[in-house]
Amino acid sequence: MKKGYDFYSKYVNAFSELLLDLQEREVDTKRIDVCANKIRFVSIAKALEKYKTVEALSAKIGIDIELLSDTNDHTKMIACVEGVPYLLGRSSWISISGRIDIYGGGLAALEPDDKAQLINARLAQLGDNLIKVVIVNQKIRAMMSRKYATIPANEVFKQVAEKARERFASTKFVTGFYNHEFAFAQLMFPEVAQKLSEAYGLPEELTPGITVITSDTGHAGVKIVGSWVSPKGRFQQAGTEVYLRHENSNSLEKVLEELPNLFIKYQNMALKLAALMGIEIKFPATVLKKALKELGAGERNAKMLLETLPTNDVTAYDICMELFSLPARLDIAETSRLELEEKIAKAINLDFTKLDNDK
């Protein structure tokens, strides 16, 4: 099956193969920023009224007939971006229906001509608002709003695996998969299995691992899930996960910063806390509020923690210890306390220097 087909998908058995494939895919990717009113949808049926034959239409678009008929089997639409026609890939529908505010389940059920008319009307309304059109393997795979942050899938896998190797000594690739909507890879860390299972009080036969799922087209997000892998190869989720949407100022750097929060018990806590003792904080109240916000632990709790925070010479260690004390100081149900403890444990991995400003 050609890579441009809507249902193209591939399982890979080696990590290098996944990286190479996604690298090639990235080379065959164009991301065009364009004003909404410079995009015009037309059904293939309508285009054929003008060009008469499939051959003539495919020649006009500059694409082979097979991809044209593949599109005619799915979205049945072409989108002209600043006058240049592109086939509309099936995966693009997620972003078109979701990201440019055309809601309603009925939209997908409309005939291609009606759909094209409706979308064109909406695009005209959006006027000169920028839209990022993502074209992969000769078809449009996504149309993102201006808030979209580009985080290519090949870079996600490459850099997450590098970071994982740094932390867990070595990685063993289990399996990988990609299609036009998302890509995933499963990695295991056999060298640290004993230490990690000991830290979590689990049987030694379980091996820690992660599943990395990312989409640089339709779904536009990165999710990294810590897992325990049974001897039979079954992945079972382990505690927290890292999830970041591709939007606003989110970046791959932010994803990598979150990675130490997976298998958080596998760390040198003494070293990290000692390092925090050397970080002086200029704006303790602000840092405390920002830290609570970033941890999802309720900014409103800052007032109570500030009461016991030293007034002079505050360090990141002081703030971290105040944060650690929070679950025990609140009158909440046991389940809520455990949830809060899990969130607060991540405080040790916060970049307090970055949070230390009065903005």
Binding site: Y266, Q267, M269, A274
Partner: protein, 110 residues
């Protein structure tokens, strides 16, 4: 005098324990937390003692001369009569940890 493993397994040290830390790092950190609390609660100024010891933990290498200086500084504070029994006892706990770490290091049993 308690040994390093005994101190490391004490309930009050458990909250600072983690799989990748060496015993001496965990025990020293607990001592630094005690010093930090004494300062935070307004008893004595200890930051000049904590900072260099914290750096040892971060560097992952125990520096005997830094520990010796810290021990001397703590003794000096203890000799000042006006801090009371509570502070004296807390500082004694810290000293005990510092000596245990020094001894374990000398014997090669980190």
């Amino acid at each position: 005098m308690k040994t390093l493993p005994e101190l490391k397994n004490a309930p009050s040290v458990k909250r600072f324990d983690s799989v990748l830390a060496e015993d001496w790092q965990t025990v020293l950190l607990k001592s630094l937390d005690t010093l930090n609390r004494l300062e935070k609660d307004g008893y004595v100024f200890t930051r000049h003692i904590s900072r260099p010891v914290a750096k040892c933990i971060v560097d992952g290498a125990l520096n005997n001369s830094i520990i010796n200086t810290a021990i001397n500084d703590i003794r000096e504070i203890q000799e000042e009569k006006d801090h009371g029994q509570f502070v004296f006892n807390k500082l004694s706990e810290v000293l005990e940890s510092f000596f245990a770490v020094k001894t374990a290091n000398r014997e090669g049993g980190k």
